[in-house]
């Protein structure tokens, strides 16, 4: 427990006492003039400030897409770095408006005061081990020490894997990300467990020799990392959902940041509706009719975002895998903009 979590919990109690029903989130966001997003404490590729202090990453840009939808400006966002433990109380108390932070969609979380929007990343939990250990799959990990960060679903995964395969894994649990990673690289643990993409990020940016480490899945089960909003504000949930959908649809239609202005004159009625040439979609959500156009114009489509942050255009070089569109054999499913 650290004081931040304690403070948040206390705030939760006070906030819950003070007001039963905050007005719709979108009104308070508009009145404030910017969006407040929960961000990670530095996972390159998903959410981390660059050397100029500008936040970058897939989760960060998902949040920027919502800012574009509401304000037409991707920079009207404030990012609040949160630990794994702090993130959900921060959302519940209204300290942040949206939580896109490699958050796994689980029943217990969903049933406890938050709502999940559309997954922006499908992922398996992975182990990273030193290549020199010769281990390449979970079954060979008997007796290994595993560095685990608290405040994640991975604590449960460690236990599930260990008991299912009788591996007698020895977890070493830390409260913060930096300590967990440092303990792994110093050799305190044989393995580091977390989302495989975060492992790829850690390997690419924090190890001296990225080729000296291998990553493999801890389980065969896939997780959906999904931005979440507070329970009980359906209008806000819709806005977040369709901002993410705009990114997916743009990729499906082949609309990119570069060609979006050419696509505006497209004859395809679906594209016309999508880009707001034919009005109605934005208005229905209480947004600008051209919100999808604005999102693509400022951020590109989902594929571009993926490549830029975690895919082939980034140091992480993560394969699209399950994060391809359904039409390419992945799990990303664009819904109809009409």
């Amino acid at each position: 427990m650290n004081w931040k979590t304690a403070t948040l919990a206390a705030t939760l109690a006070v906030a819950a006492t003070a007001q039963a029903h905050a007005g719709p989130t979108v009104d308070s966001v508009k009145a404030r003039g910017h969006l407040i997003c929960g961000a990670s404490q530095g996972t390159v590729g998903f959410g981390a400030p660059d050397e100029k202090g500008y936040w970058r990453g897939l989760d960060v840009e998902t949040c920027r897409a919502v800012a574009v939808a509401v304000f037409g400006d991707k920079d009207k966002v404030e990012f609040v770095p949160l630990s794994g433990q702090q993130r959900i109380p921060a959302l519940q108390t209204g300290e942040i408006d949206i939580l896109p932070r490699t958050l796994t969609w689980t029943l217990q979380r969903d049933a406890n005061g938050i709502n999940f929007a559309t997954p922006n990343y499908y992922e398996f939990t992975g182990f990273m081990v030193a290549r020199s250990s010769g281990v390449t799959k979970v079954e060979e990990m008997t007796g290994a020490s595993v560095c685990v960060q608290t405040g994640s679903t991975t604590e449960v995964v460690v236990n599930d894997v260990s008991s299912r395969l009788n591996l007698q894994l020895k977890p070493v649990v830390f409260d913060n990300v930096a300590a967990t990673r440092q303990a792994f690289f110093s050799g305190r643990c044989d393995a580091l467990i977390t989302d495989a993409s975060a492992l790829a990020s850690v390997r690419a940016t924090q190890s001296k020799d990225p080729d000296g480490y291998v990553i493999f899945p801890a389980t065969k089960y896939m997780d959906a990392l999904t931005p979440a909003v507070r329970h009980g504000d359906d209008q806000w949930l819709d806005i977040v959902n369709w901002s993410i959908q705009a990114l997916l649809n743009a990729e499906m239609y082949g609309i990119t940041q570069a060609n979006v202005d050419e696509m505006v004159v497209s004859g395809d009625p679906r594209i016309k509706r999508f880009l707001g040439v034919e009005p109605g979609n934005g208005k229905a959500l209480g947004l600008d009719d051209k919100f999808a156009y604005n999102i693509v114009k400022q951020l590109g489509n989902y594929g571009e975002m993926f490549d830029r942050n975690v895919g082939k255009g980034s140091p992480l070089k993560i394969d699209r895998g399950p994060n391809k569109l359904f039409s390419d054999g992945g799990l990303m499913f664009p819904l109809a903009f009409q």
């Binding site: 519940q92 049933a111 405040g151 604590e155 300590a179």
Partner: protein, 383 residues
Amino acid sequence: MIAALWDNRRFRNWGGQLLLLGGLAALLIWLVTNTVANLDARGIRVGFDFLSRPANFPISESVLPYDPADTFLWAYITGVGNTVAISILAIALSTALGLIVGLARRSQHPLTSGVASVFVTTVRNMPLIVHLLFWYALATTALPAPREALNPLPGVFLSLRGLYIPALELDANAAAFVGCLLASLALLVAFRRKVVSYFRLEGGGAGLLLLAVSAAFALFWAALFIPATSLSLPEYKGFNFSGGLRLSPEFAALMVGLVIYTSAFIGEIIRGGIDAVPAGQWEAGRAIGLSERHTLTHVIIPQALRIIIPPMTSQYLSTVKNTTLALAVGYPELGLVVGTVINQTGQAIESIALLLGTFLTISLAVSLFMNWYNARVALVEAR
């Protein structure tokens, strides 16, 4: 009538108290019911029923036996067990080290007092978290990997996975045997005066008798139940050592950091207490022919204790609370466990309430004990 009541001093006093108490209770009830109602409106569950669900998360080391299949309640109790264990150990060790530091500070020898004062100045002026991280970084970088573990004695391995030593494994009979032996020794020591006077023993005879009686006890138990023991040796298998007793780097870093940090404060409290006893007491001790050591132990320390104990109580309380910093070095004390419980269940308010209640209980227990001890050593004055 009302004026008469108002003029009644007793009524006014009691009425005021009752009004205040009632108001406080009403405020509390309003806070709780309103919070519950609003949390409910936001779809956040409230209540303690989550405590009976299986925890499913691992705890890396614990004093009490713990398995992830146990309930959240047991995970929480395991955290309490760890916190209590490290608190007691840290308090005992830092008091011992603090006594040495305090006496060294008063030493006539310039080297001894110089070293002690440098120790106190540097240690006391660094935040505890820095101490912990320093010792943890030292443990995890200076020590070799388990494959190249240091092996100073057969069966003893030191690596960055911790210190492994051979363990004596006792079966139930042997454990009972050791337990009875310790209990009988404790009883003998507790009632030594009675034993000595009953058998009319003087001087050295008493100690011998104590030993003889405990030995007889031990033999009796050994004959009654055949104890079986085996030696469990640590051995390197696959990734890690298995078998033997293990001292983890997390525990070691926490203990070393906490003990060193606290001992600097305790040393100063002890030195201050001793210095506060008037110099005349030393002179009086010498005047009746006591040696320096005896003056210290029989004249000065009993008087110094009265000055030492109140600040020592708050130092002990800080130490108990400081154990929560263990999460920085990955030792699963109560705070870390509660943090994990909050994350797994989302029940922040209930878990924080449990955390607060537990620390309040532990701290009050420490206070009560120290107050009792304070009363015991206090000057008994004529009333």
